[in-house]
Amino acid sequence: MQSPLIPNLSDQEISAIDNEIAHAPCRAAVAIDALKIVQSHRGWVSDASLQAIARHLHMSAAELDGIATFYNLIFRRPVGEQVILLCNSITCWIKGASQIQQQISARLHIGLGETSADNQYTLLPVTCLGACDRAPVMLVGEQLHTHLDDAALELIFRSREEAEE
């Protein structure tokens, strides 16, 4: 029985998911893509969104939640406008990723896994961004920033603030 309490997916989301289903052997096979699609529209995957996806894919919510929570980059809690993924893997670590993290934390007043008060940024560590030759690196939204140091950080955040103003 469909409960009216579970919100529907948007037409856009549904058509994107159905597009994936067309290429898959069974509906449940597109679970990860469906989660990514909904997250790209809503920023994160709430319980209600998850239930709506599960219903659309004919899966149980528990089964889909098992998949959603397995992946670090499917967000099951709200995140800020921009997610900062700061690499802390070996190369970036050698090149001073810890100091970079301190800088960011000091600037935005957030620790790892936290969202800034203005809801602009969420800071998360990541294992590798595939740009070790330009370490230390971080991803802000979809923008990769390399060769990070104090000056670079200053520039990144200042320019973003200015862009907003």
Binding site: I6, P7, D47, A61, D65, T69, N72, R77, G113
Partner: protein, 1000 residues
């Protein structure tokens, strides 16, 4: 058989086993977590590591996981080798880094597999000083307690719940060292078999919630081998008591019946034993209508006097033991004894018995049901009427996976590989039912039909099989196809005929086809149709399988041949034709025993009523039976009003007891010994777990005392329970084998001692009653069984029927079971409990098939009442268990959305149910919309209390008219489950704890 060398010693082991299984079977101690005998190996926990050597020269060896290593001739292993022992210790140490060490407050403590394994590997010192990860627990409903911090991530819970039991609402969440096993959000676990998590979880993540209300450790429980009285499957249980209260039910392994698992009705439905409305004293209604407690001797005198006055009749009970029923029948005489079924039920149960007696098909045990390779269910909603069978059917549809695996030389215990190989491929399971069932997700096809149409479909399948057989030269069936066996083909719907063809060809292709039906849809025609298909499929081969299958030892050897799916392929089916199985469910724990006791044409309740109205009955004795559940209240009152003396022996207060003139307090199943006959005709014995309190006595004791008080000739030499069993066995030929259900009271273990009900660590024996008296009481004696109310004795070597608990040195948990088995997953060393009673003639297979009923034609404005069972609520006694009472729904009527619209009612509204013929209102029930209901049918919840609190009585097959009830006080708050759906707000997210972005 391959010979392997373990630590310098040679052992013969079974081909195809894995090393862990082999070691445990040999009695060697080897720690493990993720492996489970019923679920195979996945090699996840790395706990069972051993050293394997290349050859005799190899001094170094390499670590292998024993659960993933097949035994092969000449292989050399070491369990004790340093490398393996150190590794195993390190594994436990790493598991323990996040374990809270909260054993003193953990309900698993004292029977914890994790504790046992930790001690076994010798991990003593905690080196880890860091923080432990913590989780938020979920409320999983009234049955199961959740404490995730104790988890060691062995994945057994989800493997059991999802892979084995088919549940969808429990999953492994998140990753790394914060894996979380739970639901998407708080809520009652949906599976009817969720309670097994308590025994499957190797530590204290999932524990028995009702037990925790008044907790007792395993070592303080007094236990006895018992039986579940919740349905007719006859699952074996271990019931545990402390301070005069039944504390819990655990599974008692029986390789033929319940194996390792119970259903939740069985596990949590027995605490009606502790109900405050239990009858404690005998009572007599005085002249002013009041009920006074009286002395038991006095009560007995009244009873004896009443029995001597003449005009005596008795009503037995399908939920009371064979012995109590036999004594009542002896007391009142066979002509005056009614087995206590309802008018509708009696012919159905008698038919179920005679169909089973007259078929050549095998009457399968649960283990044999698991081996079926094609199943057709006719009308029975087994998940709700005989739940444990539904779990077995879920295994049967996986047999194709083992066949595929065998072709690739993949061993059946390679669980992940075998499941991956088969994916969604399943053996065919066809369900023709009144509406949706909980097995639909694994069914090849489900059809929702009225009973008559289910029967027609069945006969059409049988006809199709006969036609196919007639044209096949290979089959020389003794029952030649006679034209009159083919039911009239007249107006068979074309789509239905196609379905019949599909089902017939699947059954014809099968080597072990199973036909499953029963009394659950209230139709004799449906059961007859199932038997007809079995007859059509039947062959001489099937007959040879069943012929020897009458006593205990034979059934053992049978089962060896049919040892699980692993070896199913080598059963004698290829050459000799298929081994057809016919399984018919009956309603109650001793329904079949009653049918065997009385034989056909026993007086019905109606017959007794007629005689009572005619003034022939002055005294009516009612044994453990609430008559108001057996017929419309008006009919029952008519019977009771015409009887001067109504004597009721029962345990729990009910309307019949309230109507009695003399009430005698009966001991429950947990306080008495008795034999029950399960639906497959297996006689099994339950033993008293503890002595009945106050003046409660076993029903057979009340009746025997009465018989002796009136010097009844049949009972002068009867003294012990066994004497009654023997008398019954010698008087009733059909019950001759009940004496083999368990050893008698003279049995002594190892020739010396009784079997102790208390573990050797039982504490406080002399102090438990100190609040009453500081003097040490004498231990109670048990004159009627070979079990003792004591710690002294031997709990080893005895027959399986006398196993009161499982414990072995170093193995405090239920995992010690392998020490009691001949091999892992095999029969108990002492032999399988129980004795099969049914003698099969095969006569029916040569008779003309019963004619198919005519098609059901829905009439606008009229509905056919059909029964809908619920695992919680349809059974009388379990519904009184406090934990289960929280899950009960109010009585309801299921109709389709279209019908609801026609009646202008919505879910939760009231609807008046009126007899079409008489126009009389039968009941007013809450509407539930179920679009899968067969056209023209309305499903009523069987056994549920109606809104006045009394048991309504609707009869399956009645034509009724429906009308919106106005005014109506809604009984359920909202649609079931709606309150469990979260809103979009982040604060309401329960599952964010295990996963979420900030878990790093």
């Amino acid at each position: 058989m391959p010979v392997i060398r373990i630590d310098g010693q040679d052992y013969e082991v079974k081909e195809g086993d894995n090393l862990l299984q082999a070691c445990l079977g040999l009695g060697l101690d080897l720690p493990y977590f993720c492996w489970h005998p019923a679920m195979g190996s996945i090699g996840a926990c790395r706990q069972c590591a051993v050293v394997q050597y290349q050859n005799a020269e190899d001094q170094r060896g390499r670590l292998v996981m024993s659960c993933m290593t097949p035994v092969s001739d000449g292989a050399i292993f070491s369990l004790a080798g340093d490398k393996a022992a150190t590794f195993r210790q390190a594994i436990i140490e790493s598991l323990m880094t996040n374990h809270p060490h909260d054993c003193p407050v953990c309900a698993e403590g004292g029977e914890c597999h994790l504790q046992d394994m930790t001690v076994m590997v010798g991990h003593r010192d905690r080196h880890y000083r860091g923080l432990k990860r913590t989780h938020r627990n979920q409320n999983l409903g009234p049955l199961i307690q959740h404490e995730m911090n104790r988890c060691i991530a062995c994945y057994r819970c989800t493997r059991y719940y999802r892979d084995y039991a088919g549940g969808t609402d429990l999953a492994a969440m998140a990753a790394h060292n914060h894996v979380y096993f739970g639901r998407h959000e708080d809520g009652v676990l949906e599976s009817e078999f969720a309670g097994n998590l308590v025994e499957v979880c190797p530590t204290g993540v999932f524990t028995d919630k009702p037990l925790q209300q008044e907790y007792t450790r395993k070592w303080d429980l007094q236990s006895a081998p018992s039986l579940c009285t919740g349905c007719a499957v006859g699952c074996n249980t271990l019931a545990g008591e402390r301070y005069g209260k039944l504390k819990r039910i655990h599974n008692r392994y029986n390789s033929e019946v319940n194996g390792y698992f119970l259903c939740d009705r069985g596990r949590f439905g027995a605490s009606f034993v502790n109900h405050k409305q239990r009858l404690d004293w005998a009572g007599r209604r005085s002249a002013n209508g009041r009920f006074d407690a009286i002395d038991s001797d006095q009560a007995l005198q009244h009873l004896a006097a009443a029995c001597q006055r003449g005009g005596l009749a008795g009503i037995g009970s399908p939920r009371a033991s064979v012995e109590a029923n036999f004594l009542l029948r002896t007391l009142v005489g066979a002509d005056n004894y009614s087995p206590g079924f309802s008018a509708a039920e009696q012919p159905l149960v008698e038919l179920a018995l005679s169909l089973q007696q007259q078929t050549r098909a095998l009457i399968p045990s649960i283990k044999q049901i698991e081996s079926a390779d094609a199943v057709f269910i006719l009308g029975e909603d087994v998940t709700n009427t005989a739940p444990r069978i539904a779990l077995a059917l879920r295994q049967s549809v996986r047999n194709i996976a083992y066949t595929m695996a065998a072709q690739l030389r993949l061993l059946p215990w390679q669980d992940a590989a075998v499941r991956n190989l088969a994916q969604e491929q399943r053996n065919p399971l066809f369900i023709a039912a009144l509406a949706d069932t909980r097995l639909d997700d694994v069914a090849a096809a489900t059809l929702h039909l009225a009973p008559a149409d289910i029967a027609r479909l069945g006969h059409a399948v049988a006809a199709r099989i006969r036609t196919a057989r007639a044209h096949s030269p290979a089959t020389l069936s003794p029952n030649k196809v006679s034209p009159n066996k083919v039911p009239p083909n007249e107006v068979m719907d074309e789509a239905l005929q196609q379905q019949a063809d599909t089902i017939a060809s699947a059954l014809l292709d099968a080597k072990r086809p199973l036909l499953l039906s029963g009394t659950g849809c209230g139709s004799a025609a449906v059961m007859a149709a199932a038997a007809d298909i079995a007859a059509a499929l039947g062959s001489p081969a099937a007959a040879t399988v069943t012929k020897g299958n009458v006593n205990n030892s034979d059934s053992d050897s049978d089962s060896d041949a049919e040892n699980s799916s692993t070896t199913a392929s080598k059963v004698d089916s290829d050459a000799a034709g298929p081994a057809v199985m016919l399984c018919l469910a009956v309603p109650e724990a001793n329904s079949l025993g009653q049918a065997l006791l009385t034989g056909p044409s026993a007086p019905t309740l109606e017959a007794l009523t007629v005689r009572a109205v005619g003034g022939e009955i002055q005294t009516l004795l009612v044994l453990e039976n609430d008559l108001y559940r057996r017929g419309p209240a008006a009919d029952i009152e008519r019977l009771l009003q015409h009887v001067a003396e109504i004597i009721v022996i029962d345990s729990l207060d009910n309307p019949t007891l309230s109507a009695s003139t003399l009430a005698l307090p009966a001991a429950s199943f947990a306080e008495s010994e008795g034999t029950l006959v399960s639906m497959e005709g297996r006689a099994q014995r339950h033993f008293p777990v503890f002595l009945p309190a106050k003046e409660r006595r076993a029903s057979w004791q009340w009746l025997l005392a009465c018989l002796q008080a009136i010097s009844h000739p049949r009972t002068t030499d009867l003294q012990h329970f066994d004497d009654v069993t023997n008398a019954c066995a010698s008087d009733i030929a059909a019950l001759a084998n009940i004496t083999k259900a368990a050893p008698d009271h003279l049995f002594r273990n190892a020739g010396l001692a009784k079997v102790p009900r208390q573990p050797h660590r039982y504490s406080g024996r002399t102090a438990m009653g100190a609040n009453v008296s500081v003097h040490e009481p004498k231990q109670a004696a048990d004159e009627d069984s070979a079990l003792a109310f004591s710690m002294e004795g031997v709990n080893q070597f005895q027959p399986g029927a006398l196993l009161p608990f499982v414990w072995a040195p170093g193995w405090n948990s239920n995992q010690s079971l392998h020490k009691f088995q001949t091999e892992v997953g095999g029969p108990l060393k002492g032999g399988t409990a129980g004795a099969k009673l049914l003698q099969q003639t095969g006569a029916a297979d040569d008779h003309a098939a019963p004619l198919s009923p005519s098609a059901f034609k829905p009439v606008t404005g009229q509905w056919l009442l059909v029964p809908r069972y619920k695992i919680f609520g349809s059974e009388e006694l379990s519904a009184h268990s406090p934990a289960i009472a929280q899950l009960l729904l109010p009585a309801y009527l299921e109709i389709t959305a279209a019908d609801a619209e026609r009646l202008q009612v919505d879910e939760g509204d009231g609807v008046q149910v009126m007899d079409s013929a008489s126009g009389a209102t039968l009941a007013t029930l809450e509407v539930r919309i179920n679009d899968t209901m067969a056209d023209g049918c309305a499903g009523y919840s069987v056994g549920h209390s109606a809104h006045q609190g009394s048991i309504f009585n609707l009869v399956a097959g009645t034509g009724v008219a429906l009308q919106k009830a106005d005014p109506w006080q809604r009984r359920t708050q909202s649609a079931p489950g709606a309150d469990l759906i979260a809103t979009d707000s982040p604060t309401n997210s329960n599952t964010a704890a295990p996963g979420g972005p900030n878990h790093v």
